[in-house]
């Protein structure tokens, strides 16, 4: 066990866990931030996507020991009022079915738009292919990302 001071959603938090513990389980079990989901544990499904600085990362493969002072943002901290352009676009297109993967999809999409404000279809596919939606809402997700891109550039 070891003590870590982390910056999560703009707040400083302390945890005492095994250094190998993935951030996914630090968030879910120790910080009660359960919006970040477990789907596969091997970085194949994208349900656990969070932001480390500006980059989208799979938190199931991110040991707490390597985070250091880097800012972590989870779905709960993406916006104060749930009104990030990507979240709004998701509501406008009524994207979710079961909804389980959507936090990960939204975090991937938000990072994509931060780095590439007007992505092509191929750009969207390249980034979003890491996020599985078992219900098959892919067509709506793509539409929502395009809507969010327009909102952000307006």
């Amino acid at each position: 066990m070891a003590k870590y001071s982390l910056k999560v959603n703009g707040k400083s938090v302390d945890v005492d866990v095994d250094p190998n513990t993935p951030m996914l389980w630090v968030l879910r079990d120790h910080l009660q931030l359960v919006g970040t989901k477990y789907g596969c544990g091997i970085a194949q499904c994208g349900s656990c996507t969070i932001h480390l600085g500006n980059a989208a990362v799979r938190s199931c493969q991110l040991p707490v020991a390597v985070v250091g002072s880097q800012e972590i943002t989870t779905i709960e901290g993406l916006s104060e009022k749930g009104d990030h352009p990507v979240q709004q676009a998701w509501l406008e297109h009524d994207v979710p079915q079961c909804g389980y993967c959507q936090a990960g999809q939204i975090m991937s999409a938000a990072a994509l738009l931060k780095n590439n404000p007007s992505p092509s279809d191929a750009d969207i596919d390249a980034v979003m292919d890491g996020n599985i939606c078992r219900c098959g809402t892919y067509v709506r997700i793509k539409q929502a990302i395009k809507t969010a891109a327009k909102t952000q550039s307006a």
Binding site: G35, W90, P96, D125, I132, C133, Y138, K142
Partner: protein
């Protein structure tokens, strides 16, 4: 005006205290951090101080806020929006005055509280309308009594009761307290479909905001103060069970409280009970990661108790079954053997598909708290009633002492019809004497499945010299159940017809996977008919329409299972909407239609070749599900079904070696991803006033056939064996 008999034994509206959270049904606001729906759902309406409840579906607050209880499990089919919409329509309240709560399992009141067979809306249509209409009638009676007029002198609309020839009006919120003591009417009037104001309008998912902000909604998110976490290990192969394990070593690991073997076997198991792994090793602790490490450190002397099967063995068993297996069900019209002998052209093709796993993205999990007096179960289940019954058996406890509450469910597809994970949580809770949440790893989930069976079907058709279909036969085998529906299309449409459904054994556990049997048979049959139409030199849509024409005008043999007019109707609609028959250079088109779960769906796939890859440019869908309750939600379901159908036809398979699935996670088990989904899916609904049927399953089956037929046009290759492209190649969107 349709009149309907009510079936309530409750006498009246009752006043319930807001201080207690709003009443008996709302007493399970248990999710950590779960906030009331009110702020985003009912802007401008303050939270009530008093609530008045009528019948388990409806609670009206003194401010006009209305709570509607959604009875069925929500697995992504959006019934938490569409079922309350039906109540709100007949109650006649503005939708933005409504908040939705999940009802607990209550077999004494609700009926059909399960999510399966695309049945939620179909089976509850009348009950939901009755609930709303009863509430509306009682509020009208309360106002009539108050004003000393007749109910006939009043009208109710949008949550307001108005005197028809007078000036008085009162809101539902204002009159609700006066409805206490009004008896439930024996009979109520329902609206005519043409008068619907809410049904038929698109309303957004009532949980949308919570989903996009990551609020705790799912079973895996459930938290109870003082609860433990648990993980299980089952034997690594079907045909094996638990033996001694390094118990002391595991118990000594950091973060592990306890480790032991549980047994979840019960007497007289039902169809949703576990058939494979009853003895499991359970490991209990406070957090997930240490439990995962403990699972890896397990050293178990697994015992072999049965045959360790392989994919090669499964293929052989299917081939043997097709040759000489036990026929479960069959149909025979005319004399197919004689007709095949005299046919000018005969074509025979064999279609195969592998076992596949459900792979709901939220792995199996459940919360249980078993005490001497009772058991509380909370989590993602499609069949709360079956779970309650099986837990009662396992714990040897009266059913009344068990409660089941449903969380939002991170995908169902049939997987959560099966209740073993709830029983496992209860067995662990009983052993440790406290509350516990069981969590499966992805590998646990994929290797303890209730898989879609592996199937093999042989289709044969005979054409006469004028290219009329005079003989058709299908012989289909499956492990452990055949995929054939003997009375479905083209039964009734072909003079000489034979269908045989054949079974063969396996100890791999199987179950209902989204559109059971149809999920294979539609693709096989619709691909085959495409090939038969080609052999006959006919357009594939016209060829099918000819057959439906025969089934309508001069049906062959006994009853068949479909309405040929509605079946032909969706084909005609998709033909018109997609401009079928108009040459589109570079676009390769495939069509399929299928009827299952009481809904008719026809699909056209437009495929283009880009850089040597087939790309699905657009999918056109025509759907007849009767009245469409929530159109945009309905479109979402069909779109999802199409994507799911493509994914599983193209990429997914579970193979076996020495009794173990080789694929245990998404690195080797391939699911469809963004770049492989169609670029556009447009959905059209037949407009009629037929009582609504379900949409959870029917969009999927035809996609497999339309995909195969479009790929043939694009590549010149017919695809007979799923997955069409395995792990190596792909179709892009």
């Amino acid at each position: 005006m349709t009149k309907i008999q009510t079936q309530y034994n409750r006498r009246s509206f009752i006043k319930i205290s807001a201080a207690a959270g709003g009443g008996m049904l709302i007493g399970f606001s248990w999710l950590n951090g779960c906030k009331p729906n009110a702020p985003e759902m009912a802007e401008g309406l303050p939270l009530p101080e008093e609530w008045y409840e009528i019948n388990g579906y409806i609670k009206i607050g003194d401010t006009g806020l209305v709570t509607i209880y959604s009875p069925n499990p929500e697995i992504g089919q959006n019934v938490r929006t569409s079922m309350p919409m039906i109540v709100a329509e007949e109650l006649d309240v503005p939708w933005d005055h409504v908040v939705v709560e999940q009802a607990p399992l209550n077999t004494g009141f609700y009926q059909n509280q399960f999510a399966g067979g695309s049945l939620s809306i179909r089976l509850s249509w009348n009950a939901l309308r009755m609930a709303g209409a009863t509430g509306r009638r009682m509020l009208l009676e309360a106002a009539a009594k108050e004003w000393r007029v007749n109910v006939a002198d009043l009208s109710a609309s949008e949550g307001v009761i108005t005197e028809i020839n007078g000036d008085r009006s009162v809101t539902y919120g204002e009159i609700a307290s006066k409805a206490v003591g009004i008896e439930v009417p024996k009979e109520v009037e329902l609206k005519e479909p043409k008068d619907f104001k809410l049904i038929g309008t698109s309303q957004k998912n009532v949980d949308g905001k919570k989903i996009v902000t990551g609020e705790p909604l799912f079973g895996l998110d459930f938290h109870r103060e003082g609860m433990k976490l648990a993980m299980i290990a089952h034997a690594p192969a079907f045909g094996m069970t638990v033996g001694d394990f390094n118990e002391a070593e595991i118990k000594a690991m950091p973060g592990v409280d306890d480790a032991f073997v549980i047994d979840t076997s019960i007497n007289e198991p039902g169809m949703f009970d576990e058939k494979g792994f009853h003895q499991l090793i359970a490991i209990v602790g406070d957090s997930t990661w240490p439990l995962m490490q403990a699972k890896k450190a397990l050293r178990v002397k697994w015992q072999t108790t049965g045959e360790l099967e392989s994919t090669a063995l499964h293929k052989k068993r299917l081939a043997d079954a097709l040759e000489k297996g036990q026929v479960q069900e069959s149909r025979r019209d005319g004399n197919p053997d004689a007709a095949f002998r005299k046919a000018a052209k005969v074509i025979e093709r064999t279609y195969n598909c592998p076992f596949i796993a459900h792979n709901t993205l939220e792995p199996m999990n459940f919360f249980a708290h078993v005490t001497a007096d009772g058991a509380e179960l909370i989590g993602p289940t499609q069949t709360p009633e079956a779970l309650e019954g099986s837990v009662a058996k396992m714990l040897n406890m009266p059913i009344e002492n068990i409660t089941v509450n449903m969380t939002r469910i991170g995908g169902g597809f049939g997987r959560r019809l099966y209740v073993h994970f709830g029983l496992e949580a209860a067995a662990i809770s009983k052993k440790i004497g406290g509350p516990v949440k069981l969590i499966y790893t992805r590998e646990d989930d994929m290797s303890q499945g209730t898989y879609r069976p592996t199937y093999s079907s042989v289709y044969k058709a005979g054409l006469d010299e004028n290219n009329n279909l005079i003989a058709f036969s299908v012989r289909g085998a499956g492990l452990p159940e055949g995929p054939v529906f003997p009375n479905r299309f083209p039964a009734g449409a072909v003079e000489n017809y034979s269908a045989e459904k054949i079974m063969a054994p396996t100890n791999v556990t199987t179950g209902a996977w989204r559109a059971p049997r149809s999920n294979f048979t539609a693709g096989a049959e619709q691909s085959f008919l495409d090939e038969v139409a080609e052999l006959a030199g006919k357009d594939p849509i016209d060829f099918r329409l000819e057959l439906f024409d025969r089934a309508i005008k001069d049906p062959v043999g006994g009853e068949y299972d479909y309405d040929a007019e509605r079946y032909a109707g969706v084909l005609k609609m998709v033909k018109e909407k997609s401009n079928w028959g108009t040459p589109m250079p570079g676009v390769h088109r495939g069509v399929a239609a299928y009827f299952c779960h009481s809904t008719y769906v026809a699909e056209v796939f437009d495929m283009v070749m880009e850089n040597g890859n087939p790309v699905i440019q657009k999918v056109w869908c025509a759907v007849d599900c009767g009245i469409v309750v929530n159109p945009d939600g309905a479109v979402n379901m069909i779109q999802g079904g199409v994507v799911d159908g493509i994914g599983h036809a193209m990429y997914s398979q579970l193979t076996f070696e020495n009794g173990s699935p080789r694929e245990m996670n998404f690195d080797t088990y391939k699911l469809i991803r963004h770049s492989q989904a169609p670029r556009e899916i447009e959905v059209f609904f037949v407009e009629n006033e037929i009582a609504p049927t379900g949409l959870g399953e029917p969009g999927l089956p035809p996609a497999m056939g339309a995909l195969a037929n479009a790929m043939y046009k694009a590549t010149g290759v017919r695809y007979y064996d799923q997955p069409f492209m395995g792990m190596e190649r792909q179709v892009l969107g």
